[in-house]
Symmetry: C2
Subunit: 454 residues, 2 copies
């Protein structure tokens, strides 16, 4: 019988995270202080993060050890399976070999637990009592709520209002872990109140929710902030995905020609892709790497590579990234986790260095891809992951057209068990594509801060 | 680092199902024709099931080979993990070693896929075009919808109305696989119309939904019926769970003192327990085996072991089982999969032979256990599985009290991702326990058919 699933034994769990900063030919541009416009130092971040995470944020060590306490929790679901999508290949009639790394096996159903666990661990070790965060689709908020329960921390989650309304059960999950959930924009923060004053019906955005969570964390010493994507240390934690996959591809006696993942803030993409990009940067291998974003929020394909705020309330440092402008509020697509105006600086940097490609896909194509996948492989994917699947299918059909048998690898970053309303709406013809929001983006970009480009 | 997760490689997937009928000291009582009261033969079942499944239903072979095509689908998620609940042990402060077999890794989130796949395969092989079935919580309906999509069959699911209303997203999942879902009792069948005429507000029950699905299947030659529990061949297919666990307990260098699973129709219980009971029957090992049922539907602990109909409309054969009477409609507890008036004849028989124990648990204790488990292990369990967890916790606390380190194994038959409304209601104090429905059960038992006891 042909092998379908590549499982690693528990003792093959990576003992280190991989830090792509070690292999960069050009270093990342520094983050700038929002008030002075000057490069920030560790002390500037200390009100928000414990020093251990700040050190990871700026480290250029290639491998960073994973603490024992984190490995013990990872073991609940890691190593995650790599699955050969033989049934999908057959359904598409493609000569391509399609593999997916399945991160939906984590208790909260997505890759987000990979960084939530170490973030909760390092905060607990630093004596922190309480974490605040934002969440879009609710995957990150669930992961941090779970991790906070594991390490005995309180957890307060500002959930983007459109997702709060679309996905009440994600809230139920966070509350089952003991987390507190607030719809954002809320009246609990100055940032939230300012947005509501101008737009009482605001659907919210990740940029707004970040401002609210940061504002609360900055107010007390025993409360810190945790971010689910974008930052270097978050991307670092996700690299367990790609490190495991490298070993699993060896088990399969194969190597990908194309690596694909969706991108909102960039973390699941980085998790799978960075270890492959590292091999490329070190001249050990060659591989196409594709980031897939929603057409309604096309930071990588339409946004300039420029300094901008990470949040709408302008409380975070300025980072150099592909951005649509920090005041841009994306349309309420169901892939809530991809509704972010910017992109991880490291992902933006690698795109700028031409180490990867980016493509934008519209909503209906992604749901059609998700249904095709579900009926072939059984797993109902998260709407975010459907973006990766859509491009994997495009690539598989290209292989069919060209008659070449390439190896296609994508990250199935999470399941869609909490996204059934979106699937039901799709199947009833209620979803639609979004025009490129040219005017809104132009307006938001006009507000880009003017700073020295380091 | 101590091992948490026992994973078997794909090539350790069992190649045979285990048939406990081979090891019975006393054979099962025969099923009787609903009209004549005489033992039925294979021909009597042929309108509903393909002959290959009927042969399995009556087989006394100890091992029955799993077809290659079924193994290929099983591989998508099997072998499933056995997890040592070290974090739960610590939370309870128990010296017991607690293990759970996690069946929520199947694409539909429960053990039901283990039998849905072979049932769809055998029907397809017999030239069947369409399957009908019932579903309670929606787990079985999802599994059969998925399996029907895999093998190119149409699938029509009668979903118990209370669950249809409580769990709209389970319907969305079934429809994503291409299944058709109807709330039961419905106006599509004579059985459904008869119930609605008497009780227009009927919440439905598995007994009613079975009648509807059987009625439709009996009407055309290319349509067959598939049952998600109760029958011997269904229990047989589930034994992959216990067979894998036997090997995984060896990996753990341990053997359970107690094996626990919840019981509605009996299939997840049988799946885990029968291979252990087989060892017991063959004198190879000794182990306590506990079936856990809801207090609101206590067939094993309160129902007589007697001949009764499997359905409310009296279309099925008479089977000898622990039953509360085929017209008993259990209260609308959230563990919809346990709302069945009867119990698998094989499980009832083994209880009667004193090869196992049974215990009934009330709703609030099960949800409290589920929350304790979630905060320790991360996985939010299905309300059905919470029954097993509640008793595993009772046993672990007994070990603590007695100061003995026993080994406790339970089946985590599915996750609760589609049951968040129940958890939210529980956390808002909206759920309650149910009094023992003595009067309703007495009334239903008064209607037990009077037949010769074979």
């Amino acid at each position: 019988m042909e092998t379908t699933k590549y499982l690693l034994a528990e003792d093959h769990l990576p003992k280190n995270w991989y830090n792509v900063a070690a292999d960069l030919p050009v270093p990342l541009a520094p983050s700038l202080h929002p008030a002075t416009g000057q490069p920030i130092g560790p002390a500037d971040l200390a009100p928000l993060f414990p020093m251990s995470l700040i050190e990871q944020e700026v480290s250029t060590e290639r491998y960073i050890p994973i603490p024992q306490e984190v490995l013990e929790v990872y073991q609940l679901w890691r190593p995650s399976p790599l699955i050969r999508a033989r049934r999908l290949e057959k359904a598409l009639g493609t000569p391509a070999r399609i593999y997916y790394k399945y991160e939906g096996v984590s208790p909260v159903g997505s890759h987000k637990a990979n960084t939530a666990v170490p973030q909760a661990f390092y905060n607990k070790a630093a004596g922190v009592k309480r974490l605040t965060t934002e969440t879009g689709a609710g995957q990150w908020g669930s992961a941090l709520s779970m991790s906070s329960a594991f390490f005995g921390l309180e957890c307060k989650v500002f959930m983007v209002k459109v997702s709060y309304l679309q996905k009440p059960y994600r809230r139920g999950l966070m509350e089952s872990f003991g987390g507190t959930v607030v719809a954002s924009p809320s009246t609990e923060t100055a940032c939230g109140r300012a947005v509501l004053a101008e737009h009482p019906d605001s659907p919210g955005s990740l940029g707004i929710a970040i401002s609210e969570a940061v504002e609360i964390a900055a107010q007390s010493a025993d409360t810190k902030y945790a971010l689910g994507s974008v930052l270097n240390h978050v991307l670092l934690h996700q690299t367990v995905i790609g490190l495991e996959t490298l070993e699993q591809m060896q088990m399969a006696n194969d190597y990908p020609d194309v690596v694909i993942a969706c991108t909102g803030g960039g973390s699941n993409f980085a998790g799978l892709a960075f270890p492959f990009i590292g091999q490329k940067l070190r001249g050990e291998a060659n591989v196409r790497v594709i980031a897939v974003e929603p057409s309604a929020c096309p930071s990588l394909t339409k946004g300039p590579f420029a300094y901008d705020f990470g949040d709408t309330g302008h409380l975070t440092p300025l980072v150099k990234m592909n951005t649509l402008g920090s005041t841009f509020v994306p349309a309420g697509i169901h892939a809530g986790g991809l509704r972010y105006h910017g992109m991880a600086p490291m992902v933006s940097h690698l795109l700028n260095l031409k180490q990867m490609e980016a493509v934008a896909v519209n909503q209906l194509e992604t749901f059609a891809a998700g249904i095709t996948f579900t009926r072939a492989e059984g797993i109902l994917p998260a709407p975010e992951a459907n973006h990766a699947i859509a491009v994997a299918i495009r690539e598989a059909l290209r292989c069919k057209e060209e008659g070449v048998s390439q190896s296609i690898l994508f990250n199935l970053s999470g399941h869609g068990n909490f996204d059934l309303q979106a699937y039901m709406d799709y199947q009833m013809g209620k979803l639609h594509d979004y025009e490129y929001p040219a005017e809104e983006i132009a307006m938001a970009l006009a507000g880009l801060p003017s700073v020295k480009d380091f």
